[in-house]
Symmetry: C2
Subunit: 452 residues, 2 copies
């Protein structure tokens, strides 16, 4: 009835390392670029998820869920070529449909809003915590499978929408214990970028797109390489163009911008946004005209939260306004602003800044039956569980020290002993593993100690 090991070996061609591995079984390693979350890792991830959830729900955002697979075409439409064509996990299903494991959430939630365009209550404030896959070279802070919070507001044209999203981004950083100097929120506006490219640098639409991509890469290449590539894009205009670009890159605020770029619709949007952010107590926001954001769907404000630590100096997450995306799904367009913090980026930030709290097990008590008290211990476990105490019962009949060691290894804070004497007196010995303290308590007092 059951297969045996020879079936597995049969999967592998003979005579290489894979065969040797297969001889002793299947590999126990996770698929390249993905992670196994053991309880101690999952606790950290859950701490991050719960912090995200707490902040976004406090702003009235409601959770939704979307499928893991989507038609590939929804990414081809707007996410940009690199993401859609080179980084998706796409394949043809058994029914001939070309699908992709979602590499991001924005197209999915835009599709969902389009499908219920008439029925939803606006402004729709929506969030999800979900996993995504991109075929990239795995590196620190970048995995092929990763988790993100996505928080989006639909149906608000006013800059108040981006002010709210950026305030939430700031609140998320604060909820993780970040101090003002630990991060900075860089803000720009796609309309301003478009104006800068077309009017100020006088670039064609095609060259403008190349320049945007070059700006996006600017922190990853040398200044010489940047200059060379900028000259190539500028062509005949390089002599005046390059100094203009260098001037833009050194601007510390909107006041440093050349007069041609001020007093446009875009700059008044940026100014209003900074006024609203100041009013909301967001002190870490700065203007940066070189901030582009890689995705093609943004139409107005874009922002990115950066770690200021020199060892971890990188974009933590970002977002922006994308008013055109819902309209691609056959519905009337609807304005939208969103952001997407990633779990691994935040985890690195917390590690670098030493902000990760010590995280105990979700289990409160490890219950140790002494002698043949397993049945009595089982009844006490049930009694405690009814009161909301999480109890792991040892059912192994091992030596006492081994049972306590198990509790310690699992980061369970307390051990409760159930012996004949304890059952008779209805007073049980509770041991705090960290301090070694022991006290004799009734079940009611154990509940009180754990729950309150």
């Amino acid at each position: 009835m059951m297969n045996n090991l020879t079936d597995i070996n049969g999967l592998q061609p003979p005579g290489n390392d894979e065969t040797i591995r297969a001889m002793s079984g299947l590999s126990s390693q996770p698929y390249k670029g993905t992670r196994d979350y053991y309880p101690e890792d999952k606790r950290v991830q859950n701490y991050i998820f719960e912090t995200w959830r707490k902040v976004t729900e406090s702003f009235g955002y409601e959770e939704y869920g979307a499928p893991t697979l989507e038609p590939l075409e929804i990414y081809v439409a707007k996410s940009g070529d690199e993401l859609a064509n080179q980084q998706t996990y796409s394949f043809t299903d058994r029914g001939g449909r070309i699908v992709a494991i979602r590499p991001e959430m924005t197209p999915s939630i835009s599709r969902m809003v389009a499908a219920r365009r008439q029925e939803l209550a606006y402004p729709a404030r929506l969030y999800s915590i979900a996993n995504f896959m991109r075929y990239e070279r795995p590196q620190r802070g970048r995995e092929r499978e990763f988790w993100q919070l996505n928080a989006d507001i639909f149906g608000v044209d006013a800059i108040a929408a981006e002010a709210e999203i950026i305030t939430m981004a700031d609140q998320i950083m604060k909820a993780f214990g970040a101090k003002p100097g630990d991060y900075v929120i860089k803000i720009n506006n796609r309309k301003l970028i478009n104006y800068m490219m077309a009017q100020y640098l006088e670039l064609s639409a095609e060259d403008a797109q190349l320049m945007v991509k070059l700006f996006d890469r600017k922190d990853k290449i040398s200044e010489t390489d940047f200059d060379d590539q900028a000259r190539e894009i500028l062509g005949a205009n390089a002599v005046e163009g390059l100094p203009k670009i260098k001037g833009l890159m050194s601007a510390k605020s909107m006041a440093d911008l050349p007069v041609e770029l001020r007093n446009t619709e875009a700059t008044s949007e940026v100014q209003e946004l900074f006024t609203l952010l100041e009013r909301a107590g967001v002190a870490s926001a700065i203007f940066d005209i070189t901030l582009m954001r890689g995705l093609d769907y943004y139409t107005g404000t874009v922002f990115e939260v950066f770690d200021t630590d020199p060892e971890n100096s990188r974009s933590l997450f970002g977002g922006g306004r994308y008013d055109g995306l819902v309209g691609l799904f056959g519905a009337e367009p609807i304005s939208a602003v969103g952001m997407a913090p990633g779990g691994t980026m935040i985890e690195n930030f917390l590690t670098v800044h030493k902000l990760l709290p010590a995280l105990d097990s979700t289990t409160d008590i490890y219950l140790v039956p002494l002698g043949d008290m397993l049945t009595a211990a089982g009844e006490i476990a049930s009694e405690l569980r009814v009161e909301g105490v999480n109890v792991e019962l040892d059912i192994t009949d091992r030596k006492l020290d081994k049972q306590i060691k198990t509790a310690d290894k699992k980061n369970i804070p307390y051990v409760l002993f159930i012996g004949e004497e304890e059952v008779a007196s209805k007073l049980y010995t509770l041991k705090n593993i960290a301090t070694g303290d022991e006290q004799k308590l009734s079940i009611a007092d154990v509940v009180k100690l754990i729950k309150g």
Copy 2:
């Protein structure tokens, strides 16, 4: 810089229905067999997830996470041919690896335990809530993408392990409000099945496997079809074999079994399990020798929870002992027992038995600024959020009735009005949307009313 609609149209060959759809945009429907969870759907899912989480954590199970993609070979090894070869979403990645979107969790968690065989604390009690995909014909209660709780205990040979898992299954049903007659837990044992097939029915290993699969299908085919197929498998032994099988199928308890099948190692395991379950207060467990469970990796106890409602009479979820799986990943084998309730099955059960509670939004208050009080309202929103109250602030400058209608549509229980008078008096009007009641409260009293 941005693509436009003609790019999307370009994806489609001209002159068919797809083109017409593409002309007006991309489809807003989810991929076949998957579901979009809008907030009202996600609330139901979260209620199911939280109930699962509460019960499993109360037994000391700790959460883990595993990758969405696994090497296909881990399913080929043990899950059974249908699941591995016909139902997986498998494909070759850009690096030539043959991978599958996980169709179940058991092989993944077995792989993870094997990878840390030496480091883990035993018994390891582990749970996850995760999504899976199988390429099946979508039907009621069966979707191509679905969510499951997986709870498993590793490192316990004793029947106490299956007693604990089945007690948790029973507790989960009770936590959802199910009454004793609403469900039944059918229990069998693979060792007994093996003995029955080999010794009692005298089938070869190959014919035994065919008979197991036929028993698995027995509720989906007519009795005549069952008899015909059973005769075919039995061959020359059909004359005595078929009445034996019919006798087994009518057995209501172990006492009804023919004497040849009693007093084996398997039956003493079953008897011990029923003793432990009775002691743990599990009243819904019954013995059923025709219960097989489709997966190849089970080695001992198997069980399934069935809905008893005639309209929804079907297996809700199941589990069992699978002592051999960890050993396939190059580690010393380790005993394991687990179960995997599915979200859609539970949701159907709750619907049929009218057990789904009314679920409000996670948002407590919809904050309505009157006149030009948006800035003041923003400050009050912050004040409430700090106290743990979830507040959605209306930033749209719409008519009052439209704002209240939005709150109602979102199932937010309260509206709080912030007008000039309210700000001056520091007393704010709180309206209960369901009852229409209004009261004037300080912020502190609003917090008190919402939080406790």
